[in-house]
Symmetry: C2
Subunit: 474 residues, 2 copies
């Protein structure tokens, strides 16, 4: 493709994206396809000869798009959102165009220095105390793994890197902690049996006294408690583990304190939400995802550490072919994480923060919280519906409850979820809270307005009536 | 930003990229800035108010661009390239515009099914035997870590995930193996002291008899040999470890055999290079990076495994909030690696493979190999220059050698490299081969033509004369 063709298709694709976002509401949120349906339309053999972009783009529209689930749809209330914005798309376009790889300072000094600066901006924006250093990771899964590895090395005096981890280090979290912690525990060699699930309170947040008890029991039994994960906005119910008492216990017993604010961290942009970070001065590491609730497209996870020296010592490698003359004077972010190669992700953060201003980002979070409270109010007022957890952020967990037994209720609500999603106009997902099947309604997509939340509620209510009638309590 | 502004800036940025690529040759390859220079031009405080895209883009051009090192420059002969192409940029634009996240089949069926299909295409394209299953990872570092973790679990009967790794598993590689292996060994809890460096032959490739000896010694000493990494195109010199004898030894002793073809794998597109995969049927896992030499922009790493069951069992997690009704019938790629969230990377591969056709991609590799041979020939013929390793792919390792002592030669060649790069017209990096400081000249950028390689050689020769005169052998 020559440059003139690139210009032509570039303009066409930009317009396609603008059209897509303008009309996204008309598409079903979830792809309406069966397993294998898309694959069946893709040739088994790679093309020997070059094909024209026109054909490829045509197939993109005919074959790929019907199989996409639309994360930017205003009816997206599933999981947590993966936010996006026109400004972030534009930055990604430039990033792709330049195609730089920022493993070392020298391989693009601006990529490193801009990352350093926007991470410092983010730290200030959410009110994380001074002294934390930031680095962009792809996902919170990776960031939490980095935390587990740094903690492992600190706990063993950097011996695990050398000899392997040969003694049981214990890790503390709750049943509500994100599954990436368990995954990280396996990867880092702690062993899943050394994960202690600390009981939660009625709002699904960690009970600090229970944490203290678990640590003491493990110490008495000869284990070495090493790591505690607090979650600021759990995936199931957005519960906020109380950082302050957890931090006091962690620091008393020498545990690494990591906070996973993948979803909730963005809320701290607003001073009225800053309580979730109360006690943050005790943190060793903290992660939140601008790609979830801060208009920056996936992937972009902001990881902060109190002591970058430990992080670097955990990961650094010094092969001859990567050495540069400026190494003593610069940050080489390759030593701040698992991957060697690094995309220039700071650019989109810079574009987003400047385009909206801190003020604009705050307004966005506030509006979503207001809409979630609205939905929560409706669900609480409606006979036969109940709310199953506090909603400190933008997530409401609810279910239909017409008084039938718990098992029947779980079946009923599973049917309710399917019926709601069959509408194609909204997409909700589920969880289980204390044994109860719960529907999760997240408000967090950029395009979601009050009318969409009202529509969602109308659909929920109509589906509620329908499934109640279909599944008689008998 | 409203949609009409998005269109306007989108068109402007597309044109900017076209202009950038058209005129990239006029820029110095490496950024000419000192540490801290870019940072000093970025405000310390995040903006409270929204700023206009015009200002942001202006700053991008004024502040960021002078600090970029241009990986797409035709004078890029450093490290390995991070290839790009107009078609790949266009696909990334669409990917960013849609903003989907492909952790599960249901979160975008087309993303999963297209990934499955293009990975199967890639397998066929490079002649990897049937029966390997593919998944896209971000980088080869991550892929190699996945291999180490799968091997750890297979070797311990999936006990390490549960209890932690409590016994010494040994790993085999050469001094030339990429540093990501050492990093992965630390992360996965093997412990660096359990890495055995197998001696290399005169061409820097693994000596299989030495491997066999090391395994036997370890077995006799009570270690459990678990993993051997063969490299197809080492970073320092592009040496090809001989897969066939290594595979026979690995299979005899029950070791996991991983091949790191991050750079070299793409060469197997051409039948005349397929010998590098001779013995591939014994592989347990294999990785190569389309983002290095196959016109696909960073990041995109193709990871293949013989037994996806082991990979999935190593990583799978089943939290309630991720369960879907179709789980038994579909691939959920979140269980094929470390991260939960996944970008839709298959789209750019699909665009690239179709746009160039296998034929076009082969022609691209062949031309680079031809140009590297040209350069190698010139370096061999030139008095005072010598070539330090075989060049089976697109990399030539050479140095100036006017007969002075080895230590003085190392100083001389370090000065040579600095002088060459000070030209701003080419960018080469270095390594050390058998104690000798070597300059690495890689031919692999999309825009590099014969005239650029001739220019590089002219610069090298002129710099050679200059530094020889400056650094008299005394």
């Amino acid at each position: 493709m020559d440059n003139s063709q690139f210009r032509r298709y570039g303009h066409e694709f930009v317009d396609w994206i603008a059209d897509y976002l303008e009309t996204i509401e008309k598409r079903p949120v979830r792809a309406v396809v069966s397993p294998g349906e898309i694959a069946a339309r893709l040739p088994a053999e790679p093309p020997e000869k070059a094909e024209r972009m026109e054909e490829i783009f045509n197939d993109f529209n005919k074959i790929i798009m019907p199989g996409m689930t639309h994360w930017q749809h205003p009816g997206w209330h599933a999981y947590f959102p993966a936010n996006n914005s026109p400004e972030s798309i534009l930055a990604e376009l430039l990033t792709a165009g330049i195609g730089a790889q920022g493993m070392s300072w020298v391989t693009s000094p601006a990529a490193t220095e801009l990352e350093d600066r926007v991470m410092e901006w983010l730290r200030k924006m959410i009110g994380l105390p001074e002294g934390f250093s930031g680095v962009i990771q792809d996902t919170a899964s990776t960031a939490t793994l980095c935390a587990l590895l740094s903690a492992r090395e600190r706990a063993t005096g950097f011996e695990a890197n050398e000899k392997g981890l040969r003694r049981p280090l214990t890790v503390y979290a709750t049943s509500e902690t994100h599954s990436s912690l368990e995954k990280g525990i396996k990867i880092a060699g702690y062993g899943r049996e050394n994960l202690r699930l600390v009981p939660v309170d009625s709002g699904f947040a960690m009970n600090p006294e229970a944490l203290q008890g678990a640590i003491l029991r493990d110490k008495a039994a000869g284990f070495q408690p090493a790591f505690v994960a607090a979650t600021l906005g759990t995936t199931s119910s957005s519960a906020i583990d109380p950082l302050k008492p957890i931090g006091e216990i962690a620091s008393r017993h020498g545990l690494w304190l990591h906070a996973d604010g993948a979803y909730g961290g963005t809320a701290a942009l607003c001073p009225e939400n800053r309580w979730i970070l109360d006690g943050a001065e005790k943190l060793d590491s903290f992660v939140f995802n601008p790609h979830k609730w801060m208009l920056t497209n996936f992937d972009c996870s902001a990881y902060f550490v109190k002591d970058p020296g430990t992080l670097i010592r955990t990961f650094e490698i010094h092969p001859e072919y990567l050495k540069t003359g400026v190494d003593p004077y610069v940050k080489n972010y390759r030593d701040w994480g698992i991957q060697l190669g690094r995309r220039f992700r700071a650019l989109k953060l810079w574009f987003v923060i400047r385009s909206y201003g801190v003020e604009g980002l705050r307004a966005f979070v506030r509006e979503h919280q207001r809409l979630a409270r609205l939905f929560r109010g409706w669900a609480m007022e409606e006979p036969d519906f109940e709310v199953l957890a506090p909603s400190p952020l933008g997530l409401v967990c609810f279910r239909l409850n017409d008084g039938r037994g718990e098992e029947a209720l779980n079946r009923l609500n599973r049917a309710l979820l399917d019926d709601i999603n069959a509408s194609g106009r909204v997409f909700l997902t589920h969880t289980v809270l204390g044994g109860r099947f719960a529907l999760r309604m997240v408000v967090g997509s950029r395009l979601t307005q009050e009318r969409h939340v009202r529509l969602a509620w109308d659909i929920v209510r109509a589906s509620g009536r329908r499934v109640k009638a279909e599944f008689s309590p008998a």
